[in-house]
Symmetry: C2
Subunit: 247 residues, 2 copies
DNA sequence: GCAATAGTGTCTGTAAGACAGTATATT
DNA sequence: AATATACTGTCTTACAGACACTATTGC
């Protein structure tokens, strides 16, 4: 049952986070012949890197190509895919887009976990040809998933929050020009805690990754907020070298 | 060339750090038919987890069985093992202890990187049956290694230092009873920077992971230092939940 | 003037870091 | 007494966190 096109016993799984309007969600899918939700994942071709494979999988479902993926952990336990609930032979062909799979889905798969962060209102969800369903779930409404995928999400969230503490985010999640309340809401949502407006503003301005513009945005019956934009140089430098824990 | 006993295209590589007397070293090996040093690594059996495989590999070379392994990153690029320097057919049989290898060593291997930290004076180095050599190297004397193994070491060091910032270490590296200068030397060596004696002592005592004993150690012609021991409860609790960046 | 949102400065406490003099043991 | 090591406390500074009032806009 070896299709030479794919590496056997190896897969990638993606935790695709979507942010929009103070909500953080995760993209889940459900196979045709199985009534359980799972993370979108796929196999690795013989001539591609694991990162490329993960990007391909993410792109297939979201349509977005410029995703910034982050590897967070690799799962390799012979029992992790022994899941009584999965319908063996019928399921595997739909896991990957081109209808090829190196083994049945309950054989031993070592899976490399990646996560990414997108703006979910920009995503046009694209079901796999044999997916039954594919949709966003809020973090506190994740159902029981196949395999160890609930654990993957827990680990990915932890990793994302650690990342946010040391690297800038927001370029792909906010408009080019955004307000201070908007970027604060982004951080508060991802870190799942509220922060003091004055302290937040002080700290993020001191880090230098955003710049205050002269413009304001008209928001109707309220005081107009100032607009900000990312400082490209500082932002990129911080992406590379990290920033001493801002939040 | 598929030996069903092992997962194909998958390996584990171990960065085995050894600490002793203010020195931090890495265990490297050299295959019989190849004049380049590399990290000890191995393959994953069909019925074992990647962690078990990595432990097996580490135990084979060090003789130590109670190692605490830490997964730090997975490497999967189709070109990572295309190394002109390796002697293809002759080399692979010696990579693993039981003379079986699923492919030649230059096929595509996705490798899961682990590191561990040991007391190197306790290690009886055990060459693989077909290893030409196996030895400790100081961090600043690592030669050019096969494949991407130099990068693995860089990443492992980074990961180790990050780990040390948030979790206690030392139980496997120091005697049951140790002095303040000894534990400080350990931290200074791993983090590769000196620290102020007074501040170090203040901070580590405040963290609660060590306790001052009544005893002192006789060190000859000098003032006798007090002995300390780890506080098991605090230590284990900190291992689980981490400690707010001590150093 | 009311409601809703945005904007900003100061104070306090804590913790980190710099720093030097005293104590002990041996010869 | 000389040497080598160990022990410890205070001061300063920076940063985090708490906190409240004013400004703008539309109705």
């Amino acid at each position: 049952m070896n299709v030479p096109n794919y590496l056997s016993h190896l897969s990638v799984d993606n935790v695709i986070f979507g942010y929009h309007n103070k909500q953080l969600k995760v993209l889940l899918m459900k196979l045709n012949n199985n009534n359980y939700w799972m993370l979108p994942g796929g196999f690795v071709k013989e001539d591609e890197s694991i990162l490329t494979a993960a990007k391909r999988v993410a792109q297939e479902r979201t349509g977005l190509s410029e995703l910034y993926l982050n590897q967070f952990k690799t799962y390799g336990d012979p029992h992790r895919t022994k899941d009584a609930r999965i319908v063996k032979l019928e399921a595997y062909s739909s896991y990957t887009f081109d209808h090829q799979a190196p083994e049945t889905l309950d054989s031993y798969f070592v899976s490399v976990g990646f996560y990414t962060l997108t703006e979910f209102s920009k995503v046009a969800i694209n079901k796999g040809p044999l997916d039954q369903d594919c949709n966003w779930f809020a973090l506190d409404e994740i159902p029981e998933l196949l395999y160890d995928h609930n654990q993957l999400i827990v680990d990915a969230v932890k990793s994302l929050r650690l990342h946010v503490d040391h690297y800038p985010i927001g370029k792909k999640l906010l408009e080019k020009k955004f307000t201070m309340p908007e970027i604060q809401a982004l951080y508060e949502t991802i870190l799942d805690r509220t922060m003091d407006r004055r302290n937040f503003s002080k700290k993020i301005m001191k880090s230098g990754i955003i710049t205050k513009l002269e413009e304001q945005r008209n928001i109707g019956a309220h005081r107009a907020p100032y607009l900000y934009a990312f400082n490209e140089e500082k932002y990129n430098e911080a992406l590379k070298n990290g920033i001493a824990s801002i939040f």
